[in-house]
């Protein structure tokens, strides 16, 4: 059996991959910035500059916030995926099970289609923040609904949560379908692109907000690593080992909801990162959550950066939607995992 990577190796490899992805992402883009120009830009950023060059403006106002949003998004999604898999004790679990993504999508669709009806005088700039806020709230509301439905006498039943999630997700899907029916052509296209996910249009304000939420989520998530290890022996056994299983579940679900909600509200739906990243970390380093949680965050960030680099250069000056690329990578991975794990599903 291949020797497992140690925690230190995973951290080094994860940070190394992320650093490479950041460097590569900085140098790539539709707007040509040579390495020499990039070096000048970085120097100017540190030292301050009176006359920013166009390259400087493009890098600082457009490319850098986009890269950092990608890091935050990938880290949040990777962490959430690992938390969900630990919680459901199933490597095929995904943050979508708790309904954050579909809730956010439904809320976003409501705003896109009905927004003019509800907020007719909204200025355009405020409009995009309203969309983000509504999507975030929508994700939290649907998660709360699914969480509430999963409560029984003995606490939160994960089996119930799974079923409730399926039902509520289906309902959200129907709602989305109805809104698509009501939508004009323009609204439909806007909705379509929102659903496909994109890091385009990343602003520093969004980066700071999402980044703060994801950092908090990572911090909180890491404290759940050992309890999740114990839960892998079974919820009953975890209680007998002294784990506060109910508290762990609550924290895991809400950390996920906040992280995925913030990311989805800002970037639309980026799928499969939460599914793939933890699997890959487990393959090389084993299932200890003390390694899998941070590893999934780092790998998720690197994956999103890599996919985004392709998204914004493959058909330049146009852009591919990010969700399309993560799906193209993710679906074959998912099928492979299904084969590999079929005895355990």
């Amino acid at each position: 059996m291949m020797a497992r990577w140690s925690a230190r190796t995973v951290w080094l490899a994860g940070l190394g991959l992320l650093a490479m992805a950041l460097v590569a992402g900085s140098a790539q883009g539709a707007y040509a910035i040579s390495p020499a120009q990039l070096w000048h830009v970085l120097r100017d950023m540190v030292g301050g500059s009176d006359n920013p060059t166009p390259e400087h403006l493009v890098f600082v106002n457009i490319r850098l916030p986009r890269l950092l949003l990608g890091v935050a998004a990938g880290a949040g999604l990777g962490l959430a995926g690992a938390l969900m898999q630990g919680l459901f004790r199933n490597p095929l679990a995904d943050p979508g099970l708790i309904g954050v993504s579909s809730g956010a999508a439904l809320a976003a669709a409501s705003f896109i289609v009905m927004g003019n009806l509800w907020f007719p005088d909204l200025p355009r700039a405020l409009g995009s923040w309203t969309l983000v806020s509504m999507a975030f709230m929508g994700g939290l509301v649907v998660t709360f609904l699914i969480y509430a439905l999963a409560q029984s006498q003995g606490g939160t039943r994960m089996g119930l949560m799974l079923l409730a999630g399926i039902a509520v997700n289906a309902l959200a899907g129907a709602g989305l379908g109805y809104l698509s029916f009501l939508a004009t052509d323009e609204q439909l296209r806007n909705l379509q692109f929102w659903l496909l996910g994109s890091l385009g249009g990343a602003r520093w304000s969004a980066v700071v907000l999402v980044g703060a939420v994801v950092i908090l989520a990572c911090g909180a998530g890491l404290t759940l690593a050992r309890p999740l290890n114990a839960i892998a022996l079974g919820e009953a056994q975890a209680v007998l080992l002294g784990v506060d299983v109910e508290r762990t579940k609550r924290w895991a679900i809400w950390v996920c909801a906040l992280a995925v909600g913030a990311v989805t509200a800002t970037t639309g739906m980026i799928g499969f990162v939460g599914l793939i990243a933890p699997h890959w970390v487990r393959m090389v380093a084993g299932p200890d959550h003390r390694i899998v949680l941070p590893g999934s965050a780092l790998l998720g960030a690197a994956l999103v950066l890599a996919a985004d680099a392709v998204a914004r250069t493959a058909v330049k000056p146009a852009e591919l939607p990010l969700g399309v690329l993560t799906a193209f990578i993710g679906v074959p991975m998912f099928l492979f995992m299904l084969r590999h794990f079929r005895g355990r599903v």
Binding site: N90, N229, A232, G234, L240, G242, R282, G286, D288
Partner: protein, 259 residues
């Protein structure tokens, strides 16, 4: 201090009352819970471990009800080996046994790794230490769980509190040799370490050979007392409905042949 059941009602699925148990389990003894299927053995076990609250009566540890203790505190004085333990994800045997040390994570001993190694050696799974636990046989998995439970109560407590080990059918998946090896191991821990062991067993003869006290659940009745007193031919006939013939083994332990 003892584990006392006062008027504890044992019921299946919270409905039908099966038996009422009044018993005091003294520390440092090996107790077995026996009875036919459906008599409520696992249910009683879950009441003794604090997993479930009794519908009537109380389970008292050091004269306080189990519900008065926090789960974290309980985990430092008692370990439980459940009947079924499906491990999600490909943990190594060593990692599973290490999880037994989770309740002591804020007060680790000087040589945690050594402790884990010794626990694995005790149940003869040390050679499987780096194996994926999900690929093991049923018997191997059971011994891994036992090692994990032992690791949990390995060291005596500084406050002198008794350590308890609860086992739900620990021998069910084991082959003959390992059945006796495990029972001997438990016997040794009771004798030398003062560990208090409570195990649900199916095999009457194993109980007769290794166990100090038995609690026999019989539909609506519970019989508690020293093994050889309670497990007489009449009890076997009335509780299990089998006719038995006593024989004395070579080392003087009474065993029964069944028909």
């Amino acid at each position: 201090m003892s584990l006392r059941c006062t008027h504890v009602g044992v019921s299946a699925d919270g409905k039908k009352r099966l038996a009422q148990v009044d018993a005091t389990l003294e520390p440092g003894r090996f107790t077995a819970i026996l009875g036919p299927n459906g008599a409520g053995k696992s249910t009683l076990m879950s009441l003794l471990t604090g997993q479930r609250q009794p519908m009537g009566g109380q389970v008292l540890l050091r004269n306080r009800p189990l519900s008065a203790y926090s789960a974290a505190d309980m985990a430092t004085v008692r370990a439980v080996m459940l009947q079924e333990s499906a491990v999600a994800f490909d943990f190594l045997v060593r990692e599973v046994v290490e999880l037994g040390r989770y309740p002591h994570r804020y007060q680790p001993t000087q040589d945690e790794a050594g402790l884990v190694q010794q626990a694995m050696e005790a149940t003869q799974v040390a050679h499987l230490a780096d194996r994926n636990v999900t690929t093991l046989s049923g018997g191997e998995k059971a011994r891994v769980q036992l090692a994990r439970a032992l690791a949990q109560v390995w060291h005596p407590r500084t406050d002198g509190a008794d350590r308890w080990l609860f086992l739900d059918e620990p021998t069910a998946a084991l082959d003959l040799a390992h059945q006796h090896q495990v029972m001997r191991l438990l016997r040794k821990w009771v004798a030398r370490e003062g560990l208090s062991v409570v195990a649900v067993l199916h095999d009457v003869n194993l109980a007769l050979r290794y166990v100090d006290d038995v609690l026999v659940l019989d539909g609506r009745l519970a019989h508690f007392g020293p093994t050889h007193e309670v497990l007489s031919a009449q009890t076997l006939a009335s509780v299990w409905g089998v006719s038995s013939q006593a024989v004395n083994s070579e080392d003087g332990v009474r065993q029964y042949l069944f028909a």
